[in-house]
Symmetry: C2
Subunit: 199 residues, 2 copies
DNA sequence: CCGGTCGATGTCAGCTACTGCCATCACTAT
DNA sequence: ATAGTGATGGCAGTAGCTGACATCGACCGG
């Protein structure tokens, strides 16, 4: 619990500052070093200079540490839909949301890739990721309904948007490089259009 | 552990037969009666006349009891795709898979509805459901690739198919009645076509 | 008929995620 | 000073899940 570790010189309280941030960093490190399952919450807390009990005061469970950004991403998507001209078709509102998400997520490529490696290696984490994506779909559908889009169109457009998101993100993480995320989002959406057009 | 409970008159082995089936039934009953979280594995085992340890020999975890049919559903979808004429477009192969799934799931409406009520009431169960659907999407994509469909088309078509599946199934469970599942599958697919056509 | 193997279950000990309850201790407002 | 507040520690307890070993009937070769 020494302040020197963090390099901190102003007056401080009873405890080191930024407990949540230290827990998050410690968890990420350990998940990468040993894997998610092989890491206990006690170990995370110890590395952060805190106790197990405190970890669970900051994070609902051991997985949630990896999904901090989900809420802000959801906000971003919803705002993008809401900010689209009222005359736009649902699919264009979705496209705007995907563009916004791609622009934000497109930065910090390496940390995203590392995070995705951890998640992909563990079924429990994949489950959590999927329910976060489902939550995004629900939020997108609600945003569309707020613009007067009816069911089942709203739900379908939202689910389709998330499908495009998933595929584009997957390609972006896997590819050695070159194309950036917003471009892959556009390409994947065009691909979906092409695929559904037939028949 | 009396045989009379089951009504069984031929020579029997050391234990009552169909341990797995008894566990499944006991679990379903308890999940409906008290809810998933309020049910312990020890209670399930007791009702089935077995021990907790035996439960975990038959089911990987407490949730898995509710997802027994996932494997056969996946097989059904894959076979439907494989059985489509080689000249069909990807979207038509997906449509065939959805039709097959709709036909099979469309029966036993009440039990499906009951099961869905239990799942919807619990986030852990929703997570498990989502990863099963993701597994279906992966299997569908592989089936398409086996027919020569390239990426990212295969992945996108599969994800879009699962999106349609989700929406149609949801509508089918919620609606008071009337339209059957295969019809809702077709309608939802048409709706997706309409939504993506714009823009 | 006999002994050995095998498969399904029981028993028990143990780990770990997660929770509830209360104590502690600095900081702050009055 | 004193009381209140907020973040943390400490501790006991529940429940999901696993590994190791014992048990016992079925089955099979001799």
């Amino acid at each position: 619990m020494s302040a020197a570790v963090i390099g901190y010189d102003q007056a401080m309280g009873r405890w080191e500052p930024n407990a949540r941030g230290r827990l998050e960093q410690a968890a990420l490190e350990l998940y990468v070093e040993r894997g998610f399952e092989q890491t206990t919450v006690a170990e995370i807390a110890q590395r952060a200079g805190l106790t197990e009990r405190t970890f669970f005061r900051h994070f609902a469970d051991k997985r949630e540490v990896l999904f901090q950004g989900a809420a802000s991403l959801q906000e971003l998507l919803v705002n993008a839909v809401a900010g689209t001209p009222a005359s736009s078709a649902p699919i264009d509102a979705i496209a705007a949301a995907l563009a916004a998400a791609g622009a934000v997520l497109g930065e910090r490529r390496e940390s995203a890739r590392q995070r995705q490696t951890v998640i992909a290696a563990n079924p429990e984490l994949r489950e959590r990721e999927l329910i976060k994506l489902a939550s995004l779909a629900t939020a997108l559908a609600n945003a569309l309904r707020a613009r007067g889009v009816r069911d089942p169109t709203a739900g379908l457009a939202a689910e389709a948007g998330i499908a495009v998101f998933k595929i584009a993100f997957e390609r972006w993480v896997e590819e050695s490089n070159q194309r950036d995320l917003p471009l892959l989002m556009r390409e994947s959406l065009d691909e979906l259009r092409a695929v559904t057009a037939g028949g």
